[in-house]
Point group: C2
Chain length 205, copies 2
Amino acid sequence: MVYFNKKSIDKLEKIYRLNLINSCTGFKSANLIGSIDKDGNNNLAIFSSVTHLGSDPSLICFILRPKTEFRNTYDNILESRFFTINHINKDDIKDAHHTSAKYPKNISEFDKTNLEAVFLNEFIAPYVRSSKIKLGCKYLNEYTIKENSTILIVASIEEIYIENNILKDDGWLRLDEGGTVAINGLDGYVQTELIERFDYARPKK
Amino acid sequence: MVYFNKKSIDKLEKIYRLNLINSCTGFKSANLIGSIDKDGNNNLAIFSSVTHLGSDPSLICFILRPKTEFRNTYDNILESRFFTINHINKDDIKDAHHTSAKYPKNISEFDKTNLEAVFLNEFIAPYVRSSKIKLGCKYLNEYTIKENSTILIVASIEEIYIENNILKDDGWLRLDEGGTVAINGLDGYVQTELIERFDYARPKK
């Protein structure tokens, strides 16, 4: 086994440490967040930290890096209060990864990739047309994590679109059949295959 | 496409909604958290919300459900301040899932499964022997998410153990080669296969 302690981690070269620490917590969700500003400029950005927070009420959360020059998603969400979360499909990983490039606010990532914006029903923020699972979300609150100045955004799920075959009889979404990918570190994209589903675990006698 | 709005989500039967909302944010990390109380009782519990929080300093976070009768991991972490995060390998998914059964505090999940506790160096909390990527962590802070009374735990990475072949030259951990699984919903376990790694994204001219 390779061993790193705190001291040796702190001494690592920056990119090496970024790769190591970004991959050591396991696989991450792969989503595109769509947002819009008050002038109608669309923005699309990849996030690997979207996490389930609770089912009743239906809440999600994700982490934003410290406020920097490029924070279009954050600014847009504060302006319009609504945003979309779109699963990244394996056919779209190259374009999805490209949304992490730092474009100025007036440039839409929808124009710089093959990803297509679509507006559904009355929802104000843009969805990604090719995404097979789409969530419409509403900003509720944020928490500043003082240990490193990141921001945890808490949002409610307002609506969900799911391609038919993915939704099973008990409400479970079989993500491998939908082609949803997961992220490994900063830049690795994996496809998945279901091994097994288990019953609710009860103590052994 | 199947469509749910907020009203129809709220009306869903409880288990159906649990399955739907737990799987709609995408894949989740699959980790076992090892902890110990002041009397030396070990605890091991599965968590699907462990997330990278930052690389400099090296921080992780995860979400705990509202304080309930069974909160051994939380109590232990507050008592001893240290805990371990252990990647779940595909060979261990059945036992890992079983750690979600609600055992009283004096019963160790290590005794109810084939997972074996191992103490490494001077670290106070138990690691899972068969886990190929292990993190030793220190509790730093917690944030109560008032929207649903969950708790976000923030912790530093104090040490990392990695099986040799998983660590690549640039610090990246190739998780599919290590057999780390991801979680789909509450009870689905998937294996993965790398599709591609991309370069750092820069704006197109």
